[in-house]
């Protein structure tokens, strides 16, 4: 191998992604004695976790003494329309309280109850006040705590480095090929095990709360390495994103607004959730509220900029500023709206993907040896719809478990694998080809077309005809992307970075559209106009996507069967569980 062409680094465990899951995995892997490296596309502390607002769900039972892991487990399974992997939902509910307390011991400063314990707030689908929080900047608190704790744990961080390919030898993941965004130089990582914690896919949609980083890298890397993806049709459209002004369309408006008593109204002043979920109203699950707002707008009862009104101004102004400080500033500064005086305009925004890499619940191991996944990149935990607050807890619980699983598997391997130079050369060629073309489409144009396609054809309500059209269009865009041309140098070149990210976005988009075609029912985040009912036969199946030669194979596999004692918890009345 030519040393000048790339740098080489060896690790026991390589973690790709430095959000909540990645950092938690790295902390655990280091603690288990593994020499650990972390790669992230942005600067440390800027990952998507920093944008999480409302809180982290854990049955600490500080506000409601009757809350317990069983109630949390039941809420999670019902919110996910029972498509969740029961074991993940169980581990998550059982371990989240310890993970939150652990954060506090690492320096996190959560808001307090009257008696000085961690305060918890209401959120949609949770049948107790359960979200530990810091105003509406919980994600910042969490990532900073993990970051500041992490820098003393001895793992090495590679900031502004993007992995373009996993290196596979003999059916096993043995490393990763990456480039430094700053100067375009290549890196070969050799690793005994690799953890994918790359977040989600929102950047394939036009209206999204997600940042440029959310291009589905983890999902696509796993797919290319031969791993199975499950339930990719389940995309969460968060009910409340900003709808105006145009530049901020899609930016998240925290569910904590509703958790703290915010009311949704249409242009006629009607509290429309009465029609859709009279029992839970604004605190219904996200899939329900998103569809309700969408329907109100579609039927002509939307706000001036095509959303619904969300109002918290009936609460005292000082209280609103204390509980929802960043919402107050966000609307004041970006939209000229004082939320203590009047309503916000909000509408659905692509926020999260429930589907992802199929993992073993206890260890985070994927179906490919040497490869692990955690957080949004993994699938199964949230089933057909994720409850708000369950993501931050997911990151902690399964980030830790994947870090441990990866360290353990690394220990069983004595040496780094020898990597075929041909693999590396082919990864290099793929990176440099866009520069060599003298003609070809712009990556920005292809991205724009993909976003339009996903937004209009694979959105909140789906129908076979649209999905088929989307699959055709994605196929066409894949051909365009193969001819993409990049100008400029290898130094910090966003056009080049986008050209590389496009491949992952297209793979994920195809997986979403094809999985959506196969699921001929409506369930959670997946709503079909042509199959509006929830069908029991689909309730026992995961959708599975796997690479088959150069084609994408989409099929089904049976949902793991829940043990009787857990089944009893899910089937019981709330009052019987919450005791």
């Amino acid at each position: 191998m030519n040393a000048a062409r790339f740098e080489t680094h060896d690790f026991d465990v390589l973690v790709i992604g430095a959000g909540g899951a990645g950092l938690r995995a790295a902390i655990e892997a280091s603690a288990a004695g593994a020499r650990t490296g972390v790669v992230c596309k942005s600067l440390l502390g800027k990952a998507h976790t920093v944008m999480a607002e409302g809180g982290v769900a854990a049955a600490l039972a500080h506000v409601d003494a009757k809350d317990s892991w069983k109630v949390h487990f039941r809420d999670t399974m019902l919110g996910g329309k029972q498509l969740n992997h029961w074991r993940m939902a169980q581990l998550h509910a059982q371990e989240a309280p310890d993970r939150v307390r652990e954060l506090e011991h690492w320096g996190a400063v959560f808001d307090r109850t009257q008696d000085g314990r961690i305060l918890q707030r209401n959120f949609g689908g949770h049948s107790a006040p359960r979200l530990a929080h810091v105003g509406d900047r919980t994600g910042l608190e969490m990532i900073r705590t993990l970051q500041d704790h992490g820098v003393h744990q001895g793992f090495e961080v590679f900031m502004e480095v993007t992995v373009s390919r996993l290196l596979v030898e003999g059916g096993r993941v043995v490393g990763a090929f990456a480039y430094r965004r700053e100067n375009g130089r290549f890196i070969v990582f050799r690793a005994k095990s690799v953890v994918l914690a790359c977040g989600g896919v929102g950047k394939s949609f036009k209206i999204t709360s997600n940042s440029w980083e959310y291009t589905g890298d983890g999902h696509a890397l796993a797919y290319e390495a031969g791993a199975e993806l499950i339930d990719m049709e389940f995309v969460q459209f968060h009910p409340t994103g900003m709808v105006w002004p145009p530049g901020v369309m899609g930016i998240l408006v925290t569910e904590a607004v509703r958790g703290e008593g915010g009311i949704l109204r249409n242009s006629k002043g009607e509290r429309f959730m009465e029609k859709y979920d009279p029992k839970r109203m604004e605190l219904s699950t996200r899939d329900m509220v998103a569809r309700a707002i969408y329907t109100e707008v579609k039927e002509g009862r939307g706000s001036p900029h095509g959303g619904a009104f969300l109002d918290i101004s009936h609460k005292p102004a000082e209280w609103v500023k204390k509980k929802l400080p960043s919402m107050y500033h966000q609307f004041m500064e970006l939209a000229d709206v004082d939320i203590t005086k009047g309503p916000m305009e909000v509408g659905p925004t692509t926020h999260y993907i429930m589907g992802g890499v199929r993992v073993e619940p206890d260890t985070g191991a994927s179906t490919v040896p040497g490869l692990f996944a955690a957080g949004e990149t993994s699938g199964g935990m949230h089933g057909a719809n994720r409850l708000g607050g369950n993501s931050l807890s997911d990151l902690l619980v399964f980030g830790r478990r994947a870090g441990l699983g990866a360290a353990e598997q690394a220990r069983s391997r004595s040496a780094q694998a020898t990597i075929d130079p041909g693999q590396i050369e082919s990864a290099e060629r793929a990176m440099l080809a866009p520069f060599e073309r003298t003609d070809g489409p712009s990556p920005y144009d292809i991205h724009h077309k993909l976003q339009e396609t996903m937004q209009s054809l694979v959105g909140i309500f789906r129908v076979e005809e649209d999905l088929a059209a989307a699959v055709r269009e994605i196929g066409r865009l894949k051909q365009e992307a193969a001819k993409v041309r990049v100008t400029g140098s290898r130094e910090f070149n966003p056009g080049w970075h986008l050209a590389i990210d496009l491949k992952a976005m297209l793979t994920c988009s195809e997986a979403i559209a094809r999985s959506a075609q196969l699921r001929k029912e409506s369930r959670g985040g997946h709503a079909r106009l042509d199959f509006p009912k929830t069908e029991p036969e689909f309730g026992t199946k995961n959708t599975v996507v796997k690479k088959d030669g150069e084609a994408m194979a989409v099929g089904q596999s049976p949902l793991p069967e829940m043990p009787a004692e857990l089944r009893a918890i899910v089937d019981a009345e709330l009052e019987a569980v919450k005791v």
Partner: protein
């Protein structure tokens, strides 16, 4: 729709210049939107950092018409559009390319600060009033605008022996945490050089999170350092008793 002219720094460590671009102004547009329009239309390789677009991540710091700002929060309707909008990278850090600077020094300083060290047998109960102050420091989004305008860093560059406002805020968050048991006054005095700060409050003025950096973090820390290291009575006491 009105048109606006932008003069954006293009270049790298070797040098560069302002380049003119024209954009169509949309309602409610911010400077970061304009930069994205320029990228998509005229300059696909224009380098810029950004993530959240909502002032939560602190990535898109730059100097807009000479004022250090988050581009995602700087509205075009607050700028005089009859003249070009000038966008330059942060001045105190070395340019990598265009609007992207090398801020890695900050991450090195952070590593020097001893982590949160809980008291033995801490009860883990505290009142909201006890942490209001700590939560103010913890609002920091690490945009490094305060570092960029700090006179010590601006005039003398990034050097060992000085930490800058960001890390005074971070240290304050640890020092004033009700459960923390470590003493960081020697670090503040020697490694972070808090004595160099002459409280001009420029850092406070540019903070997008409205943290009262000077009044609430730096001054109380300066007092702690003085109490600990320069109090003549305490010096005599230490000398006589041999206690630290």
């Amino acid at each position: 729709m009105t048109e606006a002219e932008f003069h954006v720094f293009r270049g790298d460590a070797k040098g560069g210049s302002l380049q003119p671009y024209k954009i169509q102004v949309e309602e409610g547009m911010v400077v970061l939107d304009a930069i994205h329009h320029i990228q998509a239309k005229d300059a696909p390789d224009l380098a810029v950092r950004w993530n959240c677009k909502a002032a939560k991540c602190g990535s898109c710091s730059a100097e807009v018409n000479g004022r250090p700002s988050l581009m995602c929060k700087t509205r075009l309707d607050a700028l005089p559009l009859d003249q070009p909008v000038v966008v330059r990278p942060l001045r105190s850090f070395p340019v990598i390319k265009d609007l992207v600077t090398d801020v890695s020094w900050n991450y090195e300083v952070n590593k020097k600060i001893p982590p949160f060290t809980p008291k033995k047998d801490a009860p883990w109960r505290w009142m909201q009033e006890d942490i209001d102050r700590v939560q103010e420091y913890r609002k920091c989004i690490e945009c490094f605008l305060c570092q960029n305008v700090c006179h010590v860093i601006r005039e003398h560059g990034v050097k060992a022996g000085f930490g800058g406002p960001r890390f005074f805020v971070r240290t304050a968050g640890l020092e004033m945490h009700p459960m923390d048991d470590a003493d960081r006054t020697a670090l503040l005095k020697d490694d972070l050089g808090i004595g160099y700060c002459n409280i001009t409050k420029c850092c406070t003025e540019v903070c997008p999170e409205d943290i009262h950096i000077t009044d609430n973090a730096i001054i109380p820390l300066k007092e702690r350092v003085v109490d600990e290291h320069y109090d003549p009575l305490r010096k005599v006491f230490k000398l006589l008793t041999g206690k630290k």
